[in-house]
């Protein structure tokens, strides 16, 4: 619980006036969630992980792993064999560029002025000089891509993860982040546009490509983690919480971020 308090203090100094009301509303929800944080709580060196549905989650994960091995991993490997690396990077850049409205909206909601500026600059540069977003010219110039979603925005507003959950076909998530995922897809103007112009087909193709791209980027770390861990479930869960925390702090390099507390041991053995 101490961590949560620290984080909200951090947030306090950053948030703007406009988010005050939302924060009050949401903190009541967050507090409600905290009060029953007893059963299924795991303390993971500073990260309070609330996993009351661990039994179900483990079953879903078994299912996901089976699907990955049987279907998804072969598709990713096939994709890598058929498509050269620069083409895959091009697709990733293109999809990232299409995500601009969602990233931008979340940065504005988070009051992230610098991030907002960078996202706008990136979209302008990459859509023009970068040939419709295929080339990340802005990234090459040092304006790097920042992935934002509504889960991160909620975190900035002081909302905790809630219960950890493993979603079929998607994997590690939490009540907050999975809710955020839906909010993002519903708010996405690209989706509105395609649905309003009866181009649902294009939307679902884009959705498929997004999924392929994400699975491609996850293939190496997940394969490695699966091989090197004894309890893959616990390893993924810990990685998920750490990774999300790094994202909420906008980049993993933030100096104010919490580091694991590795004590200086007395060498008495």
């Amino acid at each position: 619980m101490k961590r949560n308090v620290n984080e909200s203090i951090n947030i306090k100094s950053k948030r703007s006036k406009g988010t005050d009301l939302a924060l009050i509303l949401l903190s009541t929800i967050a507090l409600g969630a905290c009060s029953n944080m007893q059963k299924g709580e795991v303390i993971d060196a500073g990260n309070v992980i609330y996993d009351p549905y661990e039994d179900i989650n483990r079953k879903v994960m078994d299912f996901n792993v089976a699907v990955d091995h049987a279907i998804i991993n072969p598709i990713v490997i096939g994709y890598r064999t058929v498509t050269p690396k620069p083409a895959r990077t091009g697709l990733r850049n293109f999809l990232r560029n299409l995500r601009t409205p969602v990233n931008l909206a979340n940065q504005i909601l988070q009051g992230d002025i610098e991030g907002t500026r960078d996202t706008i600059l990136r979209a302008i540069i990459n859509s023009t000089v970068g040939v419709g977003g295929l080339f990340d010219v802005a990234g090459y110039e040092g304006i790097e891509y920042e992935y934002e979603d509504f889960g991160q925005t909620l975190a900035k507003w002081g909302v905790g993860h809630g219960p950890y959950m493993v979603v079929p076909f998607i994997g590690a998530s939490s009540f907050r982040d999975y809710g955020g995922f839906f909010a993002d897809s519903l708010a996405d103007p690209v989706r509105w546009y395609l649905f309003n112009t009866n181009e649902e087909g294009i939307y679902y193709s884009k959705f498929g490509l997004d999924y392929l791209d994400v699975r491609d980027s996850l293939y190496d770390p997940l394969t490695e983690l699966e091989k090197s861990s004894f309890d893959y479930y616990a390893a993924v869960r810990s990685t998920y919480y750490q990774h999300r925390r790094a994202l909420v702090h906008d980049n993993s390099m933030s100096e104010n971020r919490q580091m694991p507390d590795i004590p200086v041991f007395d060498d008495d053995f």
Partner: protein
């Protein structure tokens, strides 16, 4: 008294200048990953003593990377020799006792001296095996040490980036600790903000918890690895 104060001031400004002159890439202005914290803050938190640790840690990681890439690129080594070479680098540059003990968490204290010793041996063997498997993944990517800063009392965090020929850079942070005898050792590696030591600890903790709180369950896993 006046003179003493003046020399203190001089010393301080010297420290500030040193901190400022730490090499930074020109386009870092826009690079949020480094630019996130205001530079003025960095100068305040870095003491004279501290900036020395950060600088030393930086050259330490540079040297370590040189050695590492050196044996990865050495074509004359076979798999087994490469593993041996890696073991040497690991022993010399990593604080395996601290990493291992941290990874075992609160179960360290509840295990016997003998269990602790066996655990540390097995742990080191596991780390060598896990990372040796990854050698073949090396594809001549560029490795750049970007910056370093002080962390806590005796640690420094060195930020480096792996730059592939195509695609995004990967941020890798090295947590380097100054030991009592003055030597520098790595105690953690963080990839995109995910700590290897912490992930290891969660994995081990879960194995032991699900095995009824006995460290033997973990040792069995490690033995059969």
């Amino acid at each position: 008294m006046e003179r003493v104060l003046l020399s203190n001031k001089l010393l301080l400004s010297f420290g500030v200048v040193t901190a400022l002159s730490t090499p930074v890439y020109a386009n870092d202005f826009y690079n949020k990953s480094i630019n996130n914290a205001p530079p003025s803050k960095t100068i305040i938190t870095i003491s004279l003593e501290g900036s020395k640790i950060a600088d030393n840690a930086k050259s330490f990681v540079e040297k370590l990377a040189e050695d590492g890439i050196g044996f990865l690129e050495n074509q004359s080594l076979n798999e087994e020799q490469r593993k041996k070479e890696f073991q040497k680098v690991l022993k010399h540059n990593f604080d395996m006792k601290t990493i291992g003990r941290f990874a075992l968490g609160r179960y360290w204290r509840t295990s016997s001296k003998q269990q602790q010793k066996e655990y540390l041996d097995l742990f080191e063997k596991m780390v060598v095996d896990v990372y040796s498997r990854r050698f073949s993944d090396y594809n001549g990517e560029d490795f750049v040490v970007v910056s370093s800063r002080v962390q806590g009392k005796s640690d420094a965090i060195v930020l480096s980036q792996i730059v592939p020929s195509s695609g995004s850079k990967i941020n890798v942070e090295w947590r380097v600790r100054k030991k009592k005898n003055g030597s520098l050792k790595v105690v953690d590696i963080m990839v995109e903000g995910v700590s290897m030591s912490l992930t290891q600890r969660s994995d081990f903790a879960s194995v032991i918890q699900r095995g009824g709180g006995k460290i033997d369950v973990l040792l069995d896993h490690l033995r059969s690895n």
